[in-house]
Amino acid sequence: MARLIGGLGTSHIPAIGGAIHKGLQQDPYWKPFFDGFPPIRQWLHAQKPDVVVMFYNDHGLNFFLDKMPTFAVGAAPQYHNADEGWGIPTLPPFAGEVDLSWHLINHLIDQEFDVVTCQEMLVDHACTLPLKLFWPEGDCPVTVVPVCINTVQFPLPSAKRCYALGRAVGEAIQRWDSGKKVAVIASGGLSHQLDGERAGFINKAFDLQFVESLATNPEWATQFSVHELVEKTGTQGVELLMWLAMRGALAAAAPGVRRVHGNYHIPISNTATAVLALEAVA
């Protein structure tokens, strides 16, 4: 059977794509963000996952308001990035893992998560940037199954529901008839708000408590409604739903986690950024 080895989380601000393209990783503005990654890359280099399941939110590249799925699972052999309208470089396509996609879809629907399935799916910066951040050199060494969670149009799925979705994904990975090693990634957050008079809202105290809870009390944030999460973390800070899904997957696969490395930095663009790696511990 396949093995879920751990979970990763990272912010995905579009400007990161520009910074990578321009080689600004050691620039004083960017260094405190990029310096969070080398210890995690070392761990990944040692662990060598073959496949990642990426929990992310589309920002209006693949999905528009004409059809807005709450949960969508990619089932494509290849995922293309494309022009998002604000000038960040378009990345080459990423390879899918179609067998795992359909295994996930079958298990999720069996568990009453009635997901949308996508045999073609453009992936935006939220799906591509984590791959470039964790594997910056050369071709991406992992195949990908994108799982898109709606954070565009309310009502959004609850924190509790996203955690449960993650659990079902973790169960499916552990039951996948394959010798491959799988990691789950959460792309998004942490606290930030782009729109309205409250633009620029950041909540460091909540973010730090949330990141701590992922190691010690993983269901802590599921007590909050989406409305409460928006109030506490901003309209886009609600992307922490991805982190809960990632942590739910780990909870299904292993009784414990070991914190490999983490980093938290304010600000990049308008965002409180975080990166984290948790190893599944039997």
Binding site: A15, H59, G60, L61, F64, L65, D66, A82, D83, E84, G85, W86, G87, V152, Q153, F154, P155, Q193, L194, D195, G196, E197, R198, A199, G200, F201, I202, K204, H227, V230, E231, T235, Q236, H265, I266, P267, S269, N270, A272
Partner: protein
């Protein structure tokens, strides 16, 4: 519960069904700006492009004014509006400064202060 029955969050407009209905044409136009050819067509003839997407007068006025708070009031969603802002090379600090009535430097200082 719909967002209309929840306690309001100051300075925040959750993009719910009411906003999504109101802003559909505006957001559809902004979604089209994923394509360079559409961005160019908008720049070449803004009024014709807005008519093509059927924007109402409040939406068209907010587009002409490049005013983000007015665009949100007219049903705009942050993610699609960002594509409109991209045409003018405005970044998120430009937009944040405009919405909060600050200079860009003041807005950036506010972000840095949030990290202390």
């Amino acid at each position: 519960m719909t967002t209309a029955t929840l306690p309001p969050i100051a300075g925040t407009t959750p993009f719910d069904g009411a906003q999504a209905r109101k802003g559909y044409a505006l957001n559809k136009m902004c979604f089209s700006f994923n394509d360079e050819a559409n961005r160019q067509a908008f720049v070449a003839d803004e009024e014709a492009y807005m008519r093509q997407y059927g924007l109402n007068e409040a939406q068209a006025a907010a587009i002409r004014a490049r005013n983000v708070l007015q665009l949100i009031a007219a049903g705009g969603n942050a993610y699609y509006l960002a594509k409109f802002a991209g045409i003018f090379k405005l970044d998120m600090q430009d937009i944040g400064a405009q919405q909060t009535g600050m200079t860009k430097e003041q807005f950036k200082a506010k972000l840095v202060a949030a990290g202390r």
